[in-house]
């Protein structure tokens, strides 16, 4: 009986040999993924490299469908892909127009992905070029978490994560994604991509303002008399009264700026431009329908008026 006591746990250990453990050197640690479409799909993965000179390298796959592309990536390279450290997904304009639901389905099926990676569109450039730019020496941090640090350093706060995108899509069937372009060898924010049913439908010019209205950023950079004024600690509240919705936005500016009136006026002008654009595009990316649903109001009745009330204070 004593021998059986020792035999039983040993048996259990050997029965668990089917677990999918791999050594670090035997897997590709994927930190970023770019998706391009040009008659066929091209996926480029930024993976950690064991080379002494370069800490990262790019591996590529292509195929007629996304499943074929991932199959190509899995079979043509001798190491399995590990998406647990995926931090960034870059999508080309053409691929976004074709639809990205199947990409998310493939990533979602991977149990190890954390699903809070950033999503970025590439406008007027390929996603591969943006990926190469981010992995080059022009970027200060090349580690796995480096992209979010880089984007924060450059005051680019308007990133959407996968979780946010899926939540918005399921709530309202409309979601947004910030886009970037490479101009004069520098990465710059471009327009805001509006997605409907996982397909890129339109572009909105007022990217930062839309992010403020959606409560997705706490900071806004305002250009005033050739100077940049940073409005921090932005809080947005929506209030429903009769058939109109009012956005109450409050923020703080640096104490070096004495006159808040001009800042408030300019900020309000930009926000109103974003609201006008959303009306013109006739797409609910300001998420008014979910707001009405949350307040037990009928969502098929359009909101008659959208007002903005801004309060900017000096940070003491």
């Amino acid at each position: 009986m004593k021998k059986i006591k020792w035999f039983l746990p040993l048996m259990i250990i050997f029965l668990l040999c089917g677990c999918n453990y791999h050594e670090l050197n035997d897997i590709y640690l994927v930190s970023a993924l770019s998706l391009d479409y040009d008659n066929e799909y091209h996926i480029s993965l930024l993976v950690a490299s064991d080379d002494e000179e370069n800490s990262t390298r790019i591996i590529e796959g292509h195929g007629k469908t996304l499943e074929e592309t991932f199959f190509h990536l899995n079979t043509n390279y001798n190491k399995p892909l590990y998406l647990g450290h995926l931090n960034l997904v870059l999508i080309d304009e053409n691929a976004a127009k074709k639809g990205i639901k199947s990409l998310f389905k493939i990533i979602n099926e991977d149990n190890e992905t954390k699903k809070n990676f950033y999503l970025i569109l590439a406008q007027n450039t390929t996603a591969r070029e943006v990926l190469t730019y981010l992995s080059s020496e022009k970027v200060e941090a090349k580690e796995i978490e480096g992209f979010s640090k880089y984007l924060t350093l450059e005051n680019i706060h308007n990133q959407i994560t996968y979780n946010t995108y899926i939540k918005q899509m399921k709530e309202n069937n409309i979601s947004t994604m910030t886009s970037y372009t490479i101009k004069d060898d520098k990465l710059e924010t471009s327009n805001l991509g509006i997605f409907q049913n996982y397909h890129l439908k339109s572009w909105a010019k007022e990217t930062n303002e839309t992010m403020v209205l959606n409560g997705m950023t706490k900071e806004y950079i305002l250009s005033l008399h050739n100077q940049s004024v940073i409005i921090k600690n932005i809080h947005v509240k929506k209030k429903l009264s009769n058939d109109s919705v009012t956005f109450y936005i409050r923020g703080k500016i640096d104490s070096s700026i004495k006159d808040t009136k001009e800042v408030t006026q300019e900020f309000k002008k930009n926000i109103e431009k974003a609201i006008e654009e959303s009306k013109r595009l006739n797409l609910d990316y300001l998420r008014l329908k979910p707001f009405l649903y949350d307040r037990n109001k009928k969502t098929n009745q359009p909101v008659k008026k959208l007002n903005v009330h801004i309060n900017v204070q000096i940070d003491r």
Partner: protein, 347 residues
């Protein structure tokens, strides 16, 4: 060796019985029914669950040092008592087979995706069989150790997740009260009614054990309400409904001191503890029922049912069965006991 459990061991057994069917079974159904108000239906179910709990505590006190088989035979007589025991036995066997199926499915999906299910089945069968053979004293001690580990994991999880709450995910509140009631009944059927297995606990003269069960029930319910609340408040209903185990995906958001991440597999081990303990107590319940000597034959019958019959079985069969067997039959037991007591007094 005399069968007895300490107060804490009794509490730990109650805790695991309450939690066992939450992950991946009842919570998924509650989420699809009550949507953003899932945490409210768990709360309502916990309040209504006091009724079956008091019923089971009554049976536990009334049967004293008899086992459940003797108590049923004494209350209903030999023939009706045997019929009732057969019904209890068969349903509990099916119920445990279903739980085993869900358990191996959870382990395969989230942990060992490349391991054949048969191996996972046998890997857990061995400690299960060993523990059931050792008796209730050892089961109590094991459950207490697992309880301490569970408490540490819950503390780490809640302390991390509490700062990620987004209250707007909870809106709209109380949009449809009918759905909240329906999902509360789901919660009772899957989480509260298995507390019937508490009737297998040995008789304790002190009243404190009943009080410990009562307080553990309240604390365990609070933990489950918090789990449902955090899942909705952090992930939101739309995102949570896309996952098979939304509670597991919630754990992906946990990061200890901003340094330790990707620890969801470690934190989700409490789900394995929950399943393992209900299966242990359930099998022990079956072996004591008919003085079943051959535990191994029970195990193999369960294997046969789980592996060959279960992949296509509908969950509603299980839910209706728990209400019939673990609620209506104990009510009949309670009423007949009361009637006999009144008859004795009048005679």
């Amino acid at each position: 060796m005399k069968k007895s459990l300490t107060k804490l061991e009794t509490a730990s057994v109650t805790y695991f019985l309450l939690r066992a069917c939450f992950m991946g079974i009842s919570f998924k159904l509650i989420l699809n029914t009550a949507k953003q108000n899932s945490y409210l239906s768990v709360g309502l179910g916990s309040i209504l669950g006091f009724i079956p709990l008091f019923l089971y505590l009554f049976i536990l006190r009334k049967k004293k040092e008899q086992n459940l088989h003797e108590y049923i035979t004494r209350t209903f007589g030999k023939i009706i008592g045997t019929i009732i025991e057969i019904i209890f036995f068969c349903f509990t066997l099916f119920y445990l087979s279903y739980l085993y199926h869900e358990f191996t499915r959870f382990v395969q999906i989230e942990y060992l995706s490349k391991t054949p299910r048969l191996l996972i089945f046998f890997a857990f069968l061995i400690p299960l069989f060993y523990l059931v053979r050792k008796g209730i004293n050892v089961i109590g001690r094991v459950s207490l150790i697992l309880l301490y580990l569970s408490i540490i994991i819950i503390f780490i999880t809640f302390s991390n997740l509490i700062f990620q709450i987004n209250l707007s995910n909870l809106l709209p509140i109380l949009k449809s009260s009918k759905e909240i009631f329906n999902s509360a009944s789901l919660y009772i059927g899957f989480n509260i009614l298995p507390l019937f297995f508490l009737t297998v606990l040995p008789y304790q003269k002190e009243e404190h054990h009943t009080k410990f069960i009562f307080w553990t029930y309240i604390l365990g319910s609070i933990v489950l309400i918090m789990t449902a609340f955090l899942t909705i408040a952090i992930l939101g209903f739309d995102l949570a409904s896309t996952y098979t185990y939304p509670e597991f995906h919630l754990l992906k958001q946990v990061s200890v001191i901003g340094v330790l991440g990707h620890i969801e597999s470690i934190l989700a081990i409490q789900g394995i503890f929950d399943f393992f303990m209900i299966l242990t107590i359930g099998f022990y319940f079956l072996t004591t029922f008919f003085h079943f000597k051959y535990t191994i034959s029970l195990i193999f019958i369960t294997f046969f049912i789980t592996y060959f019959l279960f992949p296509n079985l509908d969950t509603s069969f299980i839910l209706k069965g728990t209400y019939l067997i673990y609620f209506i039959l104990p009510i009949i037991l309670y009423l007949v006991s009361l009637l006999k007591k009144t008859n004795k007094k009048s005679s």
